[in-house]
């Protein structure tokens, strides 16, 4: 259950009547939040018995713009949610799993009785991972489908193109991206990212562990564009603040297909090589890194973004054995084995190794896709607490102000990744992160950060913007 500073204005009785169905979701509430703050030790979440709501497994593939109301309660006008997904284009691997996760959450919410007794009607549109089309899809949701809310995009360029249009059309837009765009203040009062932490907080959270456990002398290899710069700037600052030293910054142009010439630039006294390479060339990058360093390598730390949707034991990735990765949510269940995590996996249809239960070769984009699930439950809770009933300035004001007043999203089946601290001024959540080591061709989680490790100060205050 989501808690907030603002007490539910109504629906308490309805919530009680729904409690049986929602029992699995209510779960551990406050205990989960405390669990989040008690993290910072070797992993292993609280083992609690919860009553699971049995819902059918979601394996349906939707291949078109489609209205989904599966499992919906029969009464009430539906709450329409537009889901902007990368079905095609460079983000399609993520899009496939984002869609699957979203469908699972919608089915579950509908089987629980919907949102405030109203079924969710999910309308899906492909944005082609294209900024121009991303903004167009927002227009379509707002003006043609007349949705109540938009569950937004993953790729930062699409979010940055689409969210301003949502702001102009005055419709809440929920990014599920991890980009440092919402908390940077670039967007608007209608844009939120409550379901996943941003890259600034992620790098800050892991910097302490890296400096303390792997080494203080760090060389960074990163793509020579915005994604890489976020890491360069935010990780570099955090590492230096914690006593680390950035020996060398090695940006690699996005068009590069071979990396051999960059490795000699790594200073010999480097203790930690920090890499965040992404894209199709990442396999080549790993192979050539292995050929260059061989057995005499520094400690290596990377972000799992490089290998989302890719099996860790794929041929060519052998060199990663013994190296470390950041994960937002462990791909392997034993990395954070909680009842809520198991529940989430079961509903989405992911096995204990992070792959499709029906196809072990289809590896999920597991570290990011939970954001869709958690965001949908946040929309549900905010609607129910704010008394939102229809698309009107008054109801949107109540919805947004209610959400801005939330402080915690407690760990439970609604928030299986862990508790989230929500900053209503930034419209951004903060949460725990995971560090995993590659052992025997799989990821073994070795550390879980505390929520406060990821929190940073900011002057951004969206609440000052008019509605």
């Amino acid at each position: 259950m989501v808690s907030g500073d603002k007490i539910s204005r109504r629906k308490a009785l309805k919530a009680i009547s729904n409690a049986a169905a929602a029992g699995a979701i209510v779960g551990a509430g406050v205990v989960g939040a405390i669990g989040g703050f008690m993290a910072g030790s070797t992993t292993g979440g609280a083992q609690q018995t919860v009553t699971e709501t049995r819902t059918r497994e979601v394996t349906k593939t939707v291949t078109a713009t489609e209205t989904v109301t599966a499992g919906a309660p029969t009464g009430g006008n539906p709450i329409k949610i537009g889901f902007e997904v990368h079905r095609t284009g460079i983000g399609a691997v993520y899009g496939k799993w984002y869609e699957r996760t979203t469908l699972a959450a919608v089915n579950l919410i509908n089987e629980m009785g919907g949102i405030d007794g109203r079924p969710i009607e999910l309308i899906i549109e492909d944005d082609g991972t294209d900024p121009q089309r991303g903004a167009q899809v927002v227009e379509k949701f707002a003006l043609e489908h007349k949705v109540d809310f938009i569950l937004g995009a993953l790729f930062s360029n699409v979010v940055l193109a689409a969210a301003p249009r949502a702001g102009e059309l005055k419709i809440p837009y929920f990014a599920v991206s991890e980009g440092y765009h919402v908390p940077s203040g670039k967007l608007n009062r209608y844009s939120f990212q409550p379901g996943i932490t941003d890259v600034r907080s992620q790098t800050q959270a892991v910097a302490g562990w890296i400096v303390e456990n792997l080494g203080k002398k760090i060389t960074m290899i990163f793509p020579d564009y915005a994604f890489g710069y976020n890491h360069r700037d935010w990780f570099g600052k955090a590492a230096r603040d914690l006593g680390g030293e950035i020996l060398e910054l090695i940006p690699i142009p996005p068009t590069e297909t071979t990396f051999t010439k960059y490795f000699p630039k790594v200073p010999a006294d480097t203790e930690v090589l920090y890499h965040v390479m992404v894209g199709p060339a990442v396999l080549t990058f790993v192979k050539e890194m292995g050929e260059f360093f061989g057995a005499k390598r520094p400690e290596i730390f990377g972000f799992i973004d490089s290998l989302e949707g890719v099996a860790i034991d794929s041929p060519g990735l052998e060199f990663l054995e013994g190296t470390y990765f950041w994960e937002a949510f462990p791909r392997y269940l034993d990395g954070y084995d909680t009842p809520y995590h198991r529940f989430f996996r079961e509903k989405v249809g992911v096995d204990e190794n992070g792959a499709d239960v029906n196809d072990p070769k289809s590896v999920a984009t597991y570290s990011h896709m939970f954001s869709c699930w958690e965001t949908l439950f946040i929309i549900k809770e905010t609607v129910e607490q704010s008394g939102y009933t229809r698309r009107s300035p008054e109801d949107y004001r109540a919805f947004i102000e209610t959400l801005e007043n939330f402080r915690w999203f407690n760990e439970g089946n609604q928030h299986p990744q862990g508790a989230k601290l929500f900053n209503g001024r930034l419209h951004q959540c903060f949460g725990q992160q995971f560090i995993s080591r590659v052992e025997n061709g799989r990821l073994k989680t070795v550390y879980r950060t505390k929520i406060e490790d990821s929190v940073y100060e900011s002057d951004v205050d969206y609440t000052k913007q008019p509605l």
Binding site: R87, T88, P131, Q136, L143, L160, A226, P253
Partner: protein
Amino acid sequence: MHAANKGFGKVLAVHIGVIAGFFILQFIVPPFHAAMLTRIMVLATYAIGYNILLGYTGLMSLGHAMFFATGLYAAGLSVIYYGLPPLEALLLAILLSAVMSAAMGAITLRTSGVFFLIVTMIFSQVFFLTTLYFNVITGGEEGLVLTRYLKPISLGLFSVELTDSAVKYNFALIIFAIAFLFSLWLTRSPVGRVLVAIRENEERAEMLGYNIYKYKLLAFTMSGTISGMAGAAYALAFAYIGSALASILYSINPLLWTLLGGAGTTIGPIIGTGLMIYIIDFTSGITTSYLIVVGVTLMLLVLAFPPGIVGAIRRRWLRWLP
């Protein structure tokens, strides 16, 4: 010549009718389609610019994203970093696009045929990578949002906001109308006729005493400038600039829009742009393989109407269409 002048009233009426039609449509169509038309008018302006080079001069470029993005970044960055009001930013963007296209034309027009195609593409890719390289300024592939920097457009006694959908629509309409009427004027002008002569038979035009390089450069500059104006309009109307809009896809798009609608016709690029955007929007709602559907549709249309839709109409029924 005389016959052509005689039919000009009809031609002008059609063109004014297209502009008037767009103006009226905003009061008739549902809001979503008004938003689509806003986008179509901005992108059709880009196609009109492209058509000057391809349709009227016979030069196929694969590098026009460079000019679209020049306008996009000139307008967007001047708004963000120098606080220019939208109209000043637009004028600056048009000026810089003219300079950029003249400079690029001076270099690339030393080649011809497939080499011209490749050289324009290479320069455009260099431009694209430059926007990534200077990420700190341009925002790179993530891009930058203009919303909080955009000042109202001052119109004497009152001012209007580009965030307003109606203002956005009419801003796009004005930009589109300028480009559309300019292309009409060009086709009727002596310069336009020389360009067509170059397209039809370059050697003959040269033997008649025309400085081919000079006219091609002029066409290239006009084409790039209008493309840049469209880019600036995009940045201002949709409040976003990013490297994706400088990628090769945005060089291919105006080529497809122009070919579909009818290269060498003034109305063709508008029909092509509108049709393509609606086809993509419609088919993406049916299948994830919508690009295959779009491709097959394009092939069928090109087979049925080799000179493009408006080109075919002109050939069969309305020979007076420019």
